[in-house]
Assembly symmetry: C2
């Protein structure tokens, strides 16, 4: 499936906290065809470090398909022969420097000044992501979402959809998400992610565009993201106690390291090259701010909740708590658990396990 | 129980990696009396951020007793009417600036130069901690340890004792420890702890004595230690989604924060004031280097293994794996699980749950 990145613009967006941003644009992809009644659409909402590239390949030479390609496509559970699938970049998308990512965020030019927003870019919320997605839906002629589905931070957006536009959303698929709110522990964990950026002297309170960027802080932040998405079974089996270099013994010098440390750092370095530190902070805050707990009585859509049993970031107990709260609020909830030892990442890499559950839920 | 800090010195210590340090000193406490045959001693080995202060109070006004006071004392499971209990500071004790802590580490004066060691202080190992403890035992006239017991990094020392001096150790009590080695995941986690210190410009590759110290990096490192020792149930119940200040809404400014963030940071700031960054790094490395896997056939002592069921740092599955490996090696192992929702800290705060199991094991 060859897919195309498109650009959606809107002259102004009023944020939940009262701020306004102008000339807002985000990238999006669509798969399949919208029907005449405009009600066969499924919106896919992406995870923290993800993009709108949920399925297919952007070119013949694209090395990898989108992150949920195993469940989105012709004949797949989210069947593009039947559904019109839409996936968009969030505001402040982390990968602001990545080819094909289109996002308005701190690195964007502020039309009022002609310079990047930097620290002046407002705090954003999951609700803001969703209200912009609603604008995109309206633009595309979508009258109703057959479903909204996403993993991790995408699950939070899917849940937010169900309280913000309850009449517009017929089904919610929330994979590897939290309970109905980011609770204190998750809030604290996100603070540990933000810390290395604040610690990097190049961060300069968010004013770093056009000079040395806080790349080391961002790398350490992304190391935490990478590490927290793993599980000890898989990672310990893979790396064991191997050294990064046979001749550089960690027992003799603090600078000598184990293979696993270097591997995670190298992944984080690659991720940091295409990411933006100010966006990282705003995404963390958006997740911290997430709560639909006080609005849960608005939900009309049934839920399919998909935790990963070895998830050490969005602990399955969060989902369990969410399911209980939803059912207490009278919401119909189905649950499918992903087995594995890949941790949080199983919600991406092992999502095909949920194929039948998703198919049934969408039937 | 009023206890006294004492000082043990030895002119030279040969480390496992071949380095030598001279004029080595550590603090220690003893509770109870050594018998004539010198075989009623129990050695207590402390955790990562702990000290030799395992039980009792150092003065009438000492606000809190030692960390395992609920199980050490007259008539308690580690009964000081029966046993001679010894507890010492490790080399490179984290709390180098704390009153009553005596340790040789990077902040100590190098007798060869008259200046603090700084970065030149060698990498140390759990084995080095134990061989120094053995010197202290010899000095005290201990002929044999009835048991060695410790939580977390203390468990690693207790395990190391059983392979390094198998004829000297009759019983091992390992609480909230890992398996027979620090596996890749734990190694990587310790790297995330070390990262903020390296990121702090004041760290200056470990040469910071006499100038501005890397206090922010150390604080962020201790924030990770503090956070990783908690469990989401307890922490989310305690803090929920409360703001740090009612007037400073996190939705409007990145600088505004949630109560849980500020609470953990404030704890970390207090801990950083008495800690040393170079020592922190060396303790992390010591844990990374820990492995008795290849030497397990040397073990003669039976084990009592005490995991905490909600431990998110030393996952109970590590202990389970360790128990399996020990039993495969023919070691007699008993297991007692601490219930609770306090995470890793339950191995300190809830150790009294194991009172009967410890009493039986020592009977």
């Amino acid at each position: 499936m060859l897919v195309t990145k498109r650009r959606f613009s809107t002259p102004e967006l009023l944020l939940q906290n009262g701020s306004k941003i102008t000339d807002v644009e985000i990238g999006y992809e669509t798969y399949g065809t919208l029907n005449a009644t405009g009600d066969n659409a499924i919106f896919i909402t992406h995870y923290f470090s993800g993009t709108s590239h949920a399925a297919g390949r952007l070119s013949e030479t694209d090395p990898e398909p989108g992150y949920w390609d195993t469940i989105i496509g012709p004949g797949k559970p989210i069947d593009t022969n039947r559904f019109f699938v839409v996936s968009s970049d969030v505001l402040c998308n982390l990968n602001a420097k990545m080819e094909h990512v289109i996002t308005t965020g701190p690195a964007s030019i502020n039309p009022a000044t002609g310079f990047p927003y930097g620290a002046s870019f407002p705090v954003v919320s999951i609700g803001d992501f969703v209200s912009l997605q609603k604008c995109l839906c309206d633009h595309l002629g979508i009258k109703k979402l057959f479903a909204v589905a996403g993993p991790s931070m995408g699950a939070l957006q899917a849940m937010e959809w169900s309280v913000r536009y309850p009449e517009f959303v017929d089904r919610v698929i929330a994979a590897i998400g939290c309970s109905l709110a980011a609770d204190a522990y998750l809030i604290a964990q996100l603070d540990t992610w933000m810390a290395p950026i604040r610690l990097d002297p190049n961060f300069n309170d968010g004013e770093y565009y056009g000079r040395a960027e806080p790349i080391r802080g961002l790398t350490e932040a992304l190391k935490l993201v990478t590490f927290n998405a793993l599980h000890y079974r898989q990672i310990s089996r893979q790396f064991q106690r191997r050294l990064a270099s046979r001749d550089l013994d960690p027992a003799t010098d603090l600078k000598n390291r184990f293979a696993v440390e270097v591997a995670i750092e190298s992944t984080a370095q690659d991720r940091a090259k295409i990411a933006d530190a100010n966006s990282f902070l705003r995404l963390c805050r958006a997740v911290q701010l997430f709560s639909i707990r006080e609005r849960k009585s608005r939900i009309r859509a049934p839920y399919l909740v998909i935790p990963a049993v070895t998830d050490l970031l969005m602990h399955p107990e969060y989902a369990e708590q969410g399911v209980k709260e939803l059912r207490d609020a009278g919401v119909h909830v189905e649950v499918f658990e992903i087995e594995g030892d890949g941790g949080h990442l199983d919600g991406l890499n092992q999502i095909a396990q949920a194929a039948d559950a998703i198919r049934r839920f969408l039937s």
